[in-house]
Symmetry: D2
Subunit: 340 residues, 4 copies
């Protein structure tokens, strides 16, 4: 039994993380720190979790004080820019830190500056911290003390694409991604734009050509392909709370069997991946609450394109579920302990 | 004042058509025929329209009998395959027929057979019946007695694309369209798949590579481009009732100003089109109940692509509103009489 | 043709008011004043209305300056407490003022203080300003220069109840009302509570025993009954944008025909009221966009209760539609000019 | 470890039951029988559960054959009228049967006939089968071999009311209940009425005065009160998938503390009950996926009424979660084994 802590639990992925860790068979949730709710009972804010967190109260989110807590594993569910501040003192204190923010996802300092509009506070760390997609990343990461969890859109896009670009089934050119996200992807927001009345009956694209997750998608694809890869990525908001559906189009002249063979080889019987038959498309409803990516491929011989459709729950496989999966593997526990 | 009639008013676009025609300043809604509701009051079935249709009852949907009704203009809101049966007797009886179905949208008999899986019953008519996007189609159609209204997805996609392929700003190669439709696009359905519980919290792609509207999109683009155009079209269902958002990606090396100049030239001050500034994307909420297509273009110089985002209300500009607009123009009435 | 103006058009009922007045056959929308958007084009904020408001820009919301505008009729879509400030200078300048706020709905200064938590700024006006439910209120109000429009919940509740308490079919005792409102009833809000993620999949009661609309409901019922009437009113939020459904239970030993006879007598062929058969219940979907209240009555002989179910569109019959209906009647125009 | 089976798993509560039992620490899900899907893999139909049910296939739903299966505990998630057919052979074969249908909920044959419109097939069983609300029912039921699980509406209504009528805090007169249910309450339906387009943006009452669950509510209240109790029950459909919110009004002249004292005494620290502070109302969102009823009481001293607001997840505490809780208690396992 290890003790675990969460910093920044008042958002949607924080809530799911509390829920998963409170029910985890190998971990005991000992500390939940919050920058805004210190002193309140956790279940007074995360009301749905009542009964799961006992008398646990939010602790102050002071990096130095938290480094002294008897917590073996920390999860950071903080905004980018903030997470780095917390991560380093905890790592220095010998803790394992699993970061759900974007702060350590990129290798390139320059890319970080371009996409996040600020210098990285500890750029020298960027290359050291592994970015872990547990089904794909080579096992070397399992010794790291600070681990970057992928973003939600990237998880849905990289899982199907990485094996294909690694094996050169796709050249890496002409990849067009349209992704549709439920509103929780934007976090818990005080704003008219994210209000019920504005988002219901509404679909729209946003972040044309410059969504931050693009940096992460291209960097990972480039590393797998061993050459630069460019992606045209257009995210959209759709009127549901949870779920991401990504539709990927890329030139491909081969047979769809080659695609499936590559996926089978990469993922075999992995519990976090479900391959659907060619010609069908996954439904976000089918992955709700599951730590799983569903995807399928279809070759349109008329146009010479491969069409991949992919679905995840952005709060599970796209965030908190995957973070717990990473912890499980890092600790040598069953991969899906505490997960479904 | 002309008398108008509708055949097939029990679906969603039929309902909107009844609503628009019941309030039209130049047309009097005299007959509403239904294959299932004959003898019932119209507002007993279309309950929201109570008070708008007076005592009007559904008439039997008998093509020959309807041809004898004193109705100047008929709208067909019928499934494909069925509409053709009704259209010809009415045209032969000297009526103007505006068909919302897919029966006369294509020019090519062969394409019809491929996409609709059956021989066209009156293939010789296909080339004679104009397909009318009122903002784009050359005015020659205004003498036709049988007019095909575009489909909902095609309207959202063709309006922005047609001027660009006509002027060769786009070569017609590499066009990738992802479109997201509200559930009413599928019609009024008795099925578990279209039930509330299955469609809420759900997004999924469907019809991979072979949606019927693709035939119409490619044929129209090909005619405007004066060469064959291939489109990779992937439709998606999203959890809202009304609205279509289309995101179009195509290779383009020029400046976005050229795109806007082409649109300005083609559409000028047309009331049915709203150009949004480059970098923004239209919201389906903003076109709800409006007979208008909103769209914008963005050139991603990094990738060499043009990204067009477009939104319509599938039941208005994508169906019934556009049908009324076509009637207005055909009759020489103000283009937006009875429309907003 | 009269000129009309709106003060406070950035909320949801303001938007519908702009839409209705921009399309009104007898009124010309000349001024739209806003406390936050002065200087911007109306359709840059109310984007769905693009094309309907031409070049019209928001004017500054300065009461004195507005009183000098050449506007015949003003609509106030302002928060309570604010509306009174604007109303008096406009009335003094000889304008007709139709107030959608709660500022002049009550007769009793004391009740206002209790429910609104502040002294009324011009309490001496309270008794002079008529509260107008156009289907029920005696025609004396048609000379007033300042008119109070009913609230949304009260409209759905009072229309069915007023004739029954006036005629003593109901004693006025034991009236229990549960009402369910779409989220737009709360206005356009910057808050986590009203965010999409919090309000979807959520139903909850609120304002137990003390919702402000209760004061208005009880005062009007008391006046019709000529004795004090107490109501147990519990409002609920439900996950939709528009619509209110109210379910009213009251002891009643008679036959349901007496109830319908009373309604027929009070409302006859009124276009704003639709009586549904006993045993059925209205659906908020059927009144969307309509300036109409649908209701029905059912006598449960087993329990000795009358159950009334009622539905309106809170933004139409519950706010802006009814305000336009009031203008129409006050000006001697057709009651439903510009309305459906 | 006991083996468990489910008959009738293709609906929404069946799906949740499969999910809960597949992850249960003390029970092994051995058989899932279906009247329509025999021979198919369970996760080909319940796609969200992929990975949880291994290779398990639906078995034929033949009562006699199922009685021979080596299954210790059966759950029936069948329509009323059908469940009885299956229950008896299984009980006779010495199995424990937990029935989620309405077939054994009532004591009175006559009431069954009135509300269900048919003679009960084995009326002599009605009095023998315990109706179990695990937090309230006296422990005598723990020896039964056939147990009736309460309906969803009744669970939300009875849990707060039963202690109060038992202790005569409420007289049992004048109880008015309005309840709002998500659409899954109606099951998986092939019908236009339950389609997404019809149920979104829609709220309506139904089953005025005669909903079947009323029989169960009144019978249980009557037994607790030791006198007949009449309830005015009006259910409503609201546009969400899961969740029930009930608002109960009853005459009460005492202090709210007496109500809370009664609840504390009856429920103490029960994990399936959460008492909220007086003046607040539970949100269905807070019980999503939880086997818990949240409720609170408010005394309106002005009107002399107690207002109880209550929320459950209709598929969890209102159906499958409660059924698993019943199994746990019946088997002497931890009450919340496999539940949250």
């Amino acid at each position: 039994m290890k003790t675990v802590g969460i910093i920044g639990a008042s958002g949607y992925s924080g809530e799911i993380l509390v829920e998963l860790l409170a029910g985890h068979p190998k971990a005991k949730l000992a500390v939940v720190a919050s920058r805004t709710h210190a002193g309140k009972r956790v279940d007074s804010i995360l009301s749905r979790l009542s009964g799961l967190t006992g008398d646990l109260e939010f602790t102050k989110a002071n990096p130095k004080a938290l480094a002294k807590e008897e917590v073996d594993i920390w999860f950071l569910a903080l905004p980018h820019g903030v997470a780095a501040e917390y991560a380093l003192p905890l790592v220095e204190a010998g803790r394992l830190v699993i970061d759900l923010s974007a702060d350590f996802r990129l290798n390139s300092d320059e890319t970080y500056t371009t996409y996040y509009g600020q210098k990285h506070p500890v750029a020298e760390w960027l290359q050291k911290v592994p970015y872990v997609l547990p089904e794909f990343t080579q096992p070397g990461w399992k010794k790291a003390d600070l681990i970057a969890c992928p973003g939600c859109y990237p998880t849905s896009i990289l899982l199907p694409l990485l094996p294909l670009v690694r094996e050169k089934l796709l050249t890496g050119e002409g990849i067009i991604v349209n992704a549709l996200s439920g509103v929780s992807g934007a976090g818990k927001k005080e704003s008219v734009f994210y209000s019920f009345c504005e988002r219901t009956d509404s679909v729209l694209a946003y972040g044309l050509g410059q969504h931050r997750h693009l940096s992460e998608i291209e960097e990972q694809l480039g590393m797998a392909a061993r050459q630069a890869v460019q992606v045209q990525f257009t995210p959209h908001l759709v009127p549901m709370m949870r779920g991401i559906a990504s539709t990927i189009v890329a030139p491909f002249e081969g047979a769809v069997d080659e695609i499936y063979a590559s996926w089978e080889k990469a993922y075999g019987k992995k519990q976090g991946i479900r391959l659907l038959p060619s010609g069908t498309a996954p439904d976000t409803r089918d992955v709700l609450g599951r730590n799983r990516a569903d995807f399928s491929g279809y070759v349109d011989s008329r146009t010479g394109n491969l069409i991949i459709t992919s679905a995840i729950d952005n709060l599970m496989k796209g965030a908190s579920g995957q973070a717990v999966q990473i912890m499980n593997l890092r600790m040598g526990w069953p991969e899906f302990a505490g997960l479904v």
